[in-house]
Structures are given as structure tokens and as C-alpha cells.
């Protein structure tokens, strides 16, 4: 697939090379205009990203000049007295995303293994389609469902059960509100599993058939083949998929805002309400009137942007390496 394309690419580039050299003498003004229009629009895309960074920096500047970087580790939030510290939101984002990963990672890997290795083709296609639909449902609909279906179920069924079995842990103590960190984590788990499983499937598909056949030929069972030939050799790709899922969980806003309870507190219990970086912006930005309050929220947004930038670029690198390496091995 790769090879013929590069060959013909070089063929066309040499053709175009001649063409372009000729262009400089002739009047192919249209080509130049076309190229520069495209290039300007492309530069515009890059400027958008730069603009996001610079604008958020500009707007959040007052908060950094007043509180410095300690803004991100202190935990006070009082818009009236203009005392700000984003610690609770960072805690909320980290905890809710971790809950999401703990639930979603094993299930997503399981689904993608089932779909690529075990399920008959028809079934795999149908289930794969449904999992994709999971990603297509708008966040606000998940939030609505979370408020009226998931939260009541947690309050009456899951949380009491957790409290009576694992109640000795501080994680599962306190009154079961239904709304809170755990609910947000579960909703996030649902929302990131299509992302993780889609990438896992790509990674698994990139592993050559021979590797599986080799394991089977040595007498391995299906499961042994999966664990030896598939899972072990795609560890870094799976890791990349998990990190991409994490990136999605961090930035997810609406569903979380609707079920997390929105209280800027750090509490050991997962049943307690909390607040994430994204949810505090969603909740307060439109009503924020003082410059300091806007700055505080923008600083949270800036941090969110930079963290998701770091996470996504590293994850993409991992996935790219995992899918490229095995393709090379196949050819």
C-alpha cells in the first residue's frame, strides 16, 4: 500500500517539478494564487492555535501576577472576596478521569479484543457500529440521562451496595447523594470507551496475521494467542489509546457539569460532590463579572488546554509508533 504510492508520488513530483520550473517562465499565475490562498488559510489554522494560547494567557494574566503558579495548588474559591485557587478543580479533574480510566480501560480493551479476535465478522461489524454510536451521542444528552437515570440508580442501588461492602475505605463513605465524583467518573467512562476501543482495534489490526498463526501453530489456545501474540506486542499502542482516552476525559464538559454536583471541595469520598476544571468554567464563566474572576477561570482553561496538548501529542506519538512499526514488519 505504502510502496506504490511513494513511487508514483515521486513520479508525479518530478512531473510537477518540470511543470513548476516551466511555470516560472510561463504565466501560470493561477497556480501561484491558488497555492498562496491555500497556504494562507493553512497558516490561519496554525494561527488559531497560537491565538488560543496567547489570548488565554492575556486574559488570565492578572491571576498569575497576583497569585503566581501557586494558584494551581491552593484550594480557595471565593469570587466575592476575589480569593482564588484552583486546587479543588485539578483534584476533581484528576479523580474523575482516574475513575473513568479504571472502569473504561479493561472494558474497552476487552471489547476491542472481542471484536478483532473472537467475534464473527457480522457481529463484529454490528457491535463496532454501536460502539461508534456511543461516541456520536451529544454530551448534553449523556448529562440528561445521568441526572435522571444514572444518578438515581447510583443513589438507591450502587452506592449503598458499595458502602456496605467497601465502607471501611474512606473512598466509599458518606451519604449517597447519587450526584458526585463517582457519577461523573462513570459517565466519563461511558464517553471515553469508544475512543479507547477504536484505537485499540486499530492497534490490534496492525499486528500481522502470521504472528497469531505462529502462536496457534505452537498449540496455543485462542486466549493464549491473544495474550501472547496480540496484547503483549501492542502494549505501547494500548497505552497510547488509554492516554488519548484520558485526554478526552479531561476536557469533557457538559455531562460532567450536570452530574458532578459542582462544589469546590476536596473530599476523600467518591460519593461527595466535586468540581472539575471544565465544569467550573461551564458553570461560572457566563456569570463572571469581575476581571479577576474571568482571569481565574481563563487560567483554568489555559491549564486545561496545555495539559490536553501535552497528553494528546504524546499519545498520538505512541499510537503512531505502534501502528507504523507493525506495518513495516508486515511489508
Amino acid at each position: 500500500m505504502e510502496l506504490p504510492q511513494t513511487l508514483s508520488m515521486s513520479a508525479v513530483s518530478s512531473t510537477l517539478g518540470i511543470f513548476e520550473r516551466k511555470k516560472k517562465r510561463d504565466v501560470h499565475l493561477g497556480d501561484r494564487i491558488f497555492f498562496w490562498v491555500l497556504r494562507l488559510l493553512a497558516i490561519g489554522v496554525m494561527l488559531l492555535l497560537l491565538g488560543i494560547t496567547l489570548n488565554l494567557l492575556r486574559v488570565s494574566f492578572p491571576i498569575f501576577s497576583k497569585f503566581g503558579l501557586s494558584y494551581f495548588v491552593t484550594n480557595t474559591w471565593n469570587p466575592v472576596t476575589e480569593k482564588f485557587g484552583a486546587g479543588a478543580f485539578i483534584y476533581g479533574t484528576v479523580v474523575s478521569s482516574l475513575i473513568a480510566l479504571v472502569i473504561s480501560v479493561p472494558i474497552s480493551i476487552g471489547v476491542s479484543v472481542f471484536l478483532t479476535e473472537l467475534a464473527p465478522r457480522r457481529l463484529a461489524e454490528a457491535v463496532g457500529f454501536l460502539v461508534e454510536m456511543l461516541a456520536a451521542i451529544p454530551s448534553v444528552v449523556y448529562g440528561l440521562w445521568g441526572i435522571f437515570v444514572l444518578a438515581p440508580w447510583l443513589r438507591t442501588t450502587l452506592q449503598p451496595a458499595l458502602a456496605s461492602t467497601f465502607g471501611f475505605l474512606p473512598l466509599f463513605q458518606g451519604p449517597p447523594y447519587g450526584i458526585g465524583m463517582l457519577t461523573a467518573g462513570i459517565i466519563l467512562a461511558i464517553m471515553i470507551s469508544p475512543t479507547i476501543s477504536a484505537i485499540c482495534r486499530e492497534v490490534f489490526k496492525a499486528i500481522s496475521l502470521q504472528q497469531r498463526e505462529a502462536a496457534l501453530a505452537l498449540g496455543a489456545t485462542r486466549w493464549e494467542t491473544i495474550s501472547l501474540a496480540v496484547l503483549k506486542s501492542s502494549a505501547s499502542g494500548i497505552f497510547g489509546a488509554v492516554i488519548l482516552g484520558l485526554g478526552r476525559a479531561l476536557g469533557e464538559t457538559m455531562a460532567v457539569t450536570m452530574v458532578i454536583g459542582n462544589r469546590a471541595d476536596i473530599s476523600a469520598s467518591l460519593f461527595a460532590p466535586g468540581q472539575t476544571m471544565a465544569s467550573v468554567i461551564a458553570n461560572e464563566y457566563a456569570e463572571a463579572t469581575s476581571d479577576m474572576h474571568l482571569a481565574a477561570l481563563s487560567a483554568v482553561g489555559l491549564a486545561l488546554f496545555l495539559v490536553s496538548f501535552l497528553i494528546n501529542s504524546s499519545a498520538r506519538f505512541l499510537v503512531w509508533r505502534a501502528t507504523r512499526k507493525s506495518k513495516g514488519a508486515r511489508a
Binding site: G30, V141, I190
Partner: protein, 285 residues
């Protein structure tokens, strides 16, 4: 010794069987929330999706009835605004990546496009707030549309790029050999040939942004009336669902479910039809 072996084989088979069951269970488990969301959205929403829902303005607190007509129209307006900017810009970026996609600049551009797909949508909202709401001191449809456009651009760009890369080079060469300038080859042969695919990509991008709520919260804001002005706040379906869902009123909850049903149907229809569109050319090829 022999018994030992058969015992071990039995254990291996048992593990094999058990793990297969666990994996199948994982697949079943992941579908439960999907089915539950569908079931509840249909069950709770269907009774309230009626003529009033599509034709009436929302009623003030305390009065029952009313609809989401302005929010529906608002979403359509916002999506059209977003398409007006996002589609040409996204397609142009995709064409650049596919046709001039060698060299450092193009690689940097591809990286930027990838990163843009992963910017949290609430951050996009913050950005448009700083450039389109702050200076004018007013929430506006323009700002809302711009947020959605920024979300659309990378999606459209990537689809366009992938489609154009599928166009065999001999088609470009044939055009060039006829003496057609390159820009005409790109526009009238390469791009035109991939038109149906690009439209599919645009539809997917529309399905994605139509349900976006976070970037509209403080850009388009909300409006209880009809709105056709670019510099005025405008209602939209997702925002209306959100406001109604977190309100304490039964009647608003009912309408939120109805709104969710309409939104989910819209998104699903777009997704399904793109799937059918995408499948057809492949089966005839």
C-alpha cells in the same frame, strides 16, 4: 504423568473458555449504557415531541406548555454559520495537506490539525469569548457560530485530506498532461471527484457540532425569543436541553427529554446516512 498433562490441558481450555466469556461480556457491558440512553430518550421524549414543540416559543417559568421552536431554528442558524466558515477553510486545509503535503510546513500543519481536534470544546468557547464577545461586550450568534466553525475545521480538513490521498496520481497526471494548470486539476478533477466523500465528511462534522453545548454557553448564550441577528444572543437546542435539565421544573424536564430525542435522532440520521453513502461506492467498485 499423562493425567497431569490432560489436567493441564483441561485447565488451559477452561481459561480459554472463561476469557472468551469475559471478553464477550465486556462487549455486552459497553452496549448497556447505549441501549439505556436510547430507551430513556425515546420513552421520556416521545410524548412531548408534538406540533407545539416545533412551533411554539418557550413559556416563562410557571406556565406549562410551549416548545423549542426558536432553539431548533437557532441551532440550524448556528450550524449554517459554522459551515459557512468551517467548510471552505477545512477543505482548503485538507487540500493543502493532500496536494502540497510534503515538507516541514505541511508536517507542522498536520500536527496542528491533529491538536485542534483534541482541544477541549470548552476551551474553544473561551477563545471565541475573548475575541468575539469581550470586545463587543455582548453574547452573539456570530461568536457561537465561530466556536462551532473552529471545531469543524480540523474534522473537515482530515476527511478531505484522506479522501484526496485516495485519488490515484495518474488522474492528476492525466489532467496535467492535457496542459490544464494545476489549480484547475485540483479543483475540477481531484476535488470534484471526491465531492461525495467530502459531503459525507461535512455531514459528520455537522452531526458533531450540532450537539455541542460547552462552546455555546458563553458565546451564543441563550434567548427566549426568535433571533435572526448576528450580533444578538441566540437560543440553541443543546443549551436549551441543558438549562431545562438542571431546572427544578417537571414540565421543563419533559421538554428537555423531547429536545434530547430530536437531537439524538438528528445526529443518528446524519451518522447512518453517511454510513450508507460511504458504503455504496465501495460495493460498486
Amino acid at each position: 504423568m499423562n493425567e497431569d498433562l490432560s489436567l493441564r490441558d483441561f485447565r488451559r481450555k477452561l481459561i480459554n473458555w472463561a476469557m472468551g466469556a469475559v471478553l464477550a461480556l465486556a462487549a455486552a457491558l459497553v452496549l448497556i449504557p447505549l441501549l439505556s440512553v436510547f430507551a430513556y430518550v425515546v420513552k421520556q421524549g416521545i410524548s412531548s415531541v408534538n406540533w407545539n414543540f416545533f412551533t411554539q416559543l418557550p413559556k416563562p417559568v410557571g406556565e406549562t406548555g410551549g416548545g423549542m421552536a426558536n432553539a431548533l431554528l437557532g441551532t440550524i442558524e448556528l450550524v449554517l454559520l459554522a459551515m459557512l466558515v468551517g467548510v471552505p477553510w477545512g477543505v482548503a486545509t485538507g487540500v493543502y495537506l493532500a496536494e502540497y503535503g510534503r515538507g516541514k510546513f505541511a508536517r507542522a500543519l498536520g500536527f496542528c490539525v491533529d491538536l485542534m481536534t483534541s482541544v477541549p470544546s470548552i476551551v474553544v468557547g473561551l477563545f471565541t469569548y475573548t475575541i468575539l464577545v469581550m470586545p463587543f461586550k455582548r453574547f452573539s450568534a456570530m461568536a457561537g457560530g465561530a466556536s462551532l466553525a473552529i471545531i469543524m475545521i480540523p474534522i473537515v480538513a482530515r476527511t478531505t485530506e484522506e479522501l484526496l490521498k485516495l485519488v490515484p496520481n495518474h488522474i492528476r497526471e492525466a489532467g496535467l498532461a492535457l496542459g490544464i494548470p494545476r489549480w484547475k486539476v485540483t479543483l475540477w478533477i481531484v476535488l470534484r471527484g471526491s465531492m461525495s466523500g467530502i459531503i459525507t465528511g461535512v455531514m459528520l462534522a455537522v452531526a458533531r457540532v450540532a450537539g455541542e453545548t460547552a462552546p455555546l454557553l458563553f458565546t451564543a448564550f441563550n434567548n427566549s425569543y426568535w433571533s435572526f441577528k448576528l450580533d444578538q444572543p441566540i437560543a440553541s437546542l443543546p443549551i436549551q436541553i441543558y438549562n431545562y435539565a438542571i431546572s427544578p421544573f417537571e414540565d421543563w424536564h419533559r421538554q428537555a427529554w423531547a429536545g434530547a430525542l430530536v437531537l439524538v435522532c438528528f445526529v443518528l440520521v446524519l451518522n447512518l446516512s453517511t454510513r450508507i453513502l460511504m458504503r455504496q461506492p465501495r460495493s460498486t467498485r
